[in-house]
């Protein structure tokens, strides 16, 4: 079987899992595949011994005469994960006294080590998707990768749903061309489309094997219920009033992770817990994506040692390294998705066989339902799909220039290679030519010759000849686009983290704000740095970081609708959540009605604010936003009107100053799927959405230079914001591929048009239960209370601006 694996496992006194043995044997047969196993059960070793085995067999055959070449490439999404795997695999080489050397190459690796790795490659290299592309941007990469036998992509489920997944698909298309015998292995957590994940990674021509570790992690979910439902708010999303409930849990556990959905919520919770338990200072910590690397690394190390009682964190700790001392997880507020909830639950109980324990802490009354829905979804094994990006021309353009920097590429050859990827399987020769045109002539030919030459063709080989362009491109490789961020620093120069520029711009020197769990006073702003000092104050603003608002997943929506339907069954104590909510449901029923599977509940209510229409499709915020705009559009066709729109995860509200002709509209068919796409186009202002999407696209495609990481921009004279580019493209090159991509991404990811369409199809078969409550109901109130509102009318930007102008004139 696998001599190395067997020796090492028996030395440790362990027995290999069947999935590990299956993987070893599949790898020995030269197969590719996807391994699906939970963290903490030795998936790294399942793959690693397969790699070692292959290497030494092959060396025996060749009698070790070849010069040493890179043998295996292990790609992970996180530096921290790379270092963990580095430690684990190096340990194996040391334990078994093997000469299989392992190198680590991430953004932190020094230039000297990188050079050594280049000159004398280790057999195994651990790295990130971006680093692979940087390697491909250096001369001699074809020779460097010529002996490559294995590519292992770790946490593929995570990478697949982002443009980093496209980076991997492109890199693999090249590596496969260099070495047709290349074996590809993915490691993935459970997702709804595992089979598709395998196909995308391996490619259509390579069937590969799927190995599933039949290990069920034991999981216990408990919803934290407030004392009294009457005192529990109908709306809100912070949940701090429940902080006291969490204290005994933290006390009883060895180490607890508390997950919040946003960075500002994490800051607020940290402060709240310290206020309740002042002597926990030093025993609890904060971890989120805007804190400096130094702080985060410190928190992670302390978690490893078990010296922290609790850490309040965001998705920053979703992935990666296992913290063995963590035995309890608390999810504050809706996790929005089943997979994310399970992933977070899996951060506890890492000792094999241990139970993962997760508490769900709802932030308002209706959210308590999600506790029941999550339990149902987990029991039924429901799981979200990861939607891969397709036709990401921004990444393709970047990749083409990357190839042009190093060895150059031939158009025909590269077209053939990328056509084999999932992302670009539908690209036409015409579209590919347009990409070539963009990097050689700067776009569709606009007549006269000018000085544009990023990439030039020399005897059929496309190359970058300018060193300046090459240098700038190298710094721009990758698909993670960051906002205009300000560095927060002490006078001494100590770096705390980053805050969005617009937040700081609202503060004056002397103002206080909370960041990194400290109360800070702003001293001054210098270029892109906010200089601060510690303050003893208790007041201060809490920064909110843009983005990060995720919608409820489709699958959790299904589970939620199921729980909603359970309400019609006799409610027993078997479902503590439903039992607890009984009074609320009774109230809802008294005022209006309860939603039911197969019917759609709508409420028409008149208040002093105007005429409200509430609709409850339970499809998640994004879908509701689009749906609300379409419904508003259809209603306004009957009678011209302007609506204010509010949405939450459960439903949406249209508010108008005149009666809404609902019944009339229902006769015509408010939820018809006929003409739906047309109504989406006419009803939703996709231009503004596309303009926002274009920001990342422009940056990835190299239109906007991101600058040196952490350093202020030196190429100011080459700066123009992406919005400007967007307008210029709209005016002079409306068919531009990047522009079209922006609109496609809006449809696919912002409006989730496929999901919206499915929701319309579902609802169009439903009976509609329209009620007329005389006041706001428990279901409608949280939507009504949403602070973020959008206006809808048939008017475009200019007309809206015209109205604004009128207000100014008054």
């Amino acid at each position: 079987m696998n001599s190395f694996g067997e020796v090492w496992f028996s030395n440790q006194g362990w027995i290999a899992h069947p999935f590990q043995e299956k993987t070893w044997s599949a790898m020995a047969k030269g197969r590719s595949g996807l391994l699906n196993a939970p963290t903490g059960y030795g998936k790294t070793m399942a793959i690693w011994f397969g790699v070692l085995h292959h290497y030494y067999i092959q060396r025996k055959v060749k009698k070790g005469k070849d010069p040493r070449k890179l043998h295996a490439l292990w790609i992970t999404p996180l530096r921290a994960l790379s270092s963990e795997i580095y430690q684990a695999t190096k340990l194996v080489s040391d334990d078994l006294a093997l000469d299989y050397e392992i190198g680590l190459r991430t953004g932190d690796t020094s230039t000297k080590i990188r050079k050594d790795q280049k000159k004398k490659p280790p057999q195994g290299l651990l790295t990130t998707p971006e680093s692979v592309h940087i390697l491909m941007a250096s001369k001699g990469y074809i020779d460097y990768f010529s002996g490559l036998e294995f590519v292992i992509v770790d946490e593929w489920h995570e990478l697949m749903g982002s443009k980093r997944g496209v980076l991997i698909e492109l890199a693999l298309s090249r590596l496969k061309a260099i070495n047709p015998k290349l074996k590809i292995w993915g490691i993935s957590a459970t997702i709804g489309n595992l089979e598709e994940a395998k196909e995308i990674l391996l490619g259509p021509e390579n069937r590969g094997v799927m190995i599933k570790a039949a290990i069920k992690k034991r999981l216990q979910i408990e919803t934290l219920l407030p004392e009294l439902i009457e005192r529990f708010p109908w709306a809100g999303h912070l949940g701090v009033h429940m902080a006291e409930k969490v204290i005994p849990i933290i006390e009883q556990s060895q180490s607890t992770l508390l997950f919040t959905n946003t960075r500002s919520q994490a800051e607020i919770w940290y402060r709240q817990l310290l206020e309740l338990m002042p002597d926990w200072a030093g025993a609890i910590a904060l971890h989120h994506g805007s804190l400096s690397n130094e702080i985060r690394t410190w928190v992670e190390a302390a978690l490893h040692e078990g010296s922290l009682k609790a850490v309040i964190c965001t998705s920053s700790l979703d992935l990666g390294v296992d913290f063995r001392p963590v035995d309890t997880v608390v999810q504050i507020g809706s996790p929005k998705g089943i997979a994310r909830f399970l992933q977070r639950a899996g951060r506890s109980g890492h000792q094999p066989g241990a139970m993962s324990k997760i508490y769900f802490l709802p932030t308002h009354s209706l959210e308590i339902m999600e506790g029941a829905s999550l339990k149902y979804a987990v029991k039924e094994g429901m799981m979200e799909r990861r939607i891969p990006y397709v036709r990401s021309f921004d990444v393709l353009l970047q990749y083409l220039v990357t190839l042009a920097i190093s060895e150059g590429f031939k158009a025909e050859e590269t077209y053939h290679e990328i056509k084999g990827t999932h992302c670009f399987s539908s690209i036409t020769a015409e579209e590919f030519n347009e990409c070539i045109l963009m990097i050689t002539k700067g776009g569709r030919s606009l007549g006269a010759y000018d000085e544009f030459h990023k990439v030039v063709a020399e005897e059929g080989i496309f190359k970058v000849t300018s060193r300046r362009i090459a240098h700038r491109h190298l710094l721009n490789i990758g698909t993670i686009v960051s906002d205009a961020m300000m560095q927060v620093k002490f006078m001494s120069g100590k770096y705390l983290g980053t805050i969005e520029e617009w937040f700081i711009s609202r503060l004056k020197p002397g103002d206080n704000f909370w960041f990194s769990g400290r109360n800070l006073e702003l001293i001054k702003v210098r270029e892109m740095q906010a200089i601060v000092k510690n303050s003893t104050g208790k007041k201060g603003a809490i920064p909110s970081w843009m983005g990060g608002r995720l919608p409820l997943s489709a699958d959790l929506g299904v589970a939620l609708r199921h729980s909603m339907d359970m309400v019609h069954q006799p409610i027993t104590r078997k479902s503590p959540e439903l039992h607890f909510l009984k009074p609320l449901f009774l109230k809802q029923q008294e005022l209006s009605a309860l939603p039911e599977e197969g019917t759609l509940l709508m409420e028409s209510i008149q208040t002093k604010y105007g005429y409200h229409l509430f609709v409850y499709p339970f499809e998640g915020k994004f879908v509701h936003e689009g749906m609300a705009a379409v419904i508003a559009y259809r209603l306004s066709k009957i009678k011209a009107a302007t609506f204010s729109i509010a949405t939450n995860e459960y439903g949406f509200e249209l508010l108008s100053d005149a009666p809404i002709p609902v019944e009339e509209a229902m006769e015509i068919g408010l939820f018809n799927t006929e003409d739906l796409m047309n109504d989406i186009r006419l009803g939703i202002n996709t231009t503004e959405m596309a303009r926002r999407r274009f920001r990342d696209i422009a940056s990835i495609a190299g239109l906007v230079f991101q600058g040196y990481p952490g350093k202020p921009m030196k190429t100011k004279h080459l700066q123009a914001n992406s919005s400007l580019f967007f307008s210029v493209f709209e005016d002079y090159d409306p068919k531009n591929l990047l522009l079209r991509q922006a609109y496609d991404e809006v449809m696919d990811f912002q409006l989730e048009s496929a999901r919206m369409y499915a929701a319309f199809v579902r609802i169009s078969t439903h009976a509609i239960n329209l009620t007329f409550p005389d006041k706001l109901t428990p279901f409608s109130f949280p939507i009504f209370a949403e602070s973020f509102r959008e206006r809808y009318s048939n008017e475009d930007w200019q007309t809206r601006l015209g109205k604004l102008k009128d207000r100014l004139e008054k």
């Binding site: 544009f452 239109l703 123009a720």
Partner: protein, 213 residues
């Protein structure tokens, strides 16, 4: 939007220019011509229309207002010599009857020999009448009670409206003896300003300039 500084009438137009009808002077700030070519030279793929849309808009303004003098308030040309320079020279010769003046800006780095090869007068600043002084950068202290009309800053203002919407719009910014014009060029960004005490902000809408109350 009309306003008077002493007896001088100054018209602020939604085309992002100022017009002095009594002198027949049209004032245009920060065209940044040649910026697209400059970007393209650095490998940034931005479409380049065969003739500059900014100059086209200027053509239209000239035929509507019939000025006798056109003053460029600096940053006329963004970079070193490129194809778009020819477009500018054509523009100048199209309007041979007009006196062109450029108050030099920090981006106008073309060598004097090239600059002199045009009918433009190139000056540091230009006095108009008794009360107006035109130059590229706003002065920190005003001289002789004169109103200093300048560019350089690309002023913009963010207006908030209901439903948490906000609009970033170009503006004219008047404070004390300084009037800053919005940038005329299409490829220019906005530098957001706040309304300081005593300042007046004139917002440029599509078809009108309005003072912020």
């Amino acid at each position: 939007m009309d306003f008077y500084y002493k007896e001088e009438l100054i018209q602020l137009l939604p085309e992002k220019v100022a017009f002095l009808p009594d002198h027949g002077i049209l004032i245009v700030a920060d065209l940044h011509l040649g910026k697209a070519s400059h970007f393209r030279k650095a490998g940034i793929m931005i479409p380049l229309p065969s003739s500059s849309p900014d100059l086209k808009r200027l053509d239209e303004l000239i035929s509507a207002l019939e000025p006798s003098t056109l003053v460029f308030l600096g940053d006329l040309f963004h970079s070193s010599l490129n194809k778009e320079w020819e477009g500018l020279k054509n523009f100048l010769s199209r309007h041979a009857a007009i006196r062109f003046v450029l108050t030099k800006g920090n981006h106008d780095i073309l060598p004097t020999t090239v600059m002199k090869d045009t009918p433009m007068e190139i000056v540091e600043e230009l006095a108009v009448g008794e009360h107006l002084l035109l130059r590229h950068e706003p002065m920190t202290e005003s001289r002789d009670e004169k109103l200093n009309i300048s560019g350089h800053i690309h002023p913009g203002f963010m207006i908030k409206s209901q439903g948490r919407q906000s609009f970033r719009l170009p503006c004219f910014y008047l404070q004390g003896q300084s009037l800053v014009l919005p940038a005329f060029g299409q490829l220019t960004g906005l530098h957001m300003l706040k309304k300081e005490a005593g300042a007046k902000v004139f917002i440029v809408f599509q078809d009108e300039v309005l003072e912020l109350p």
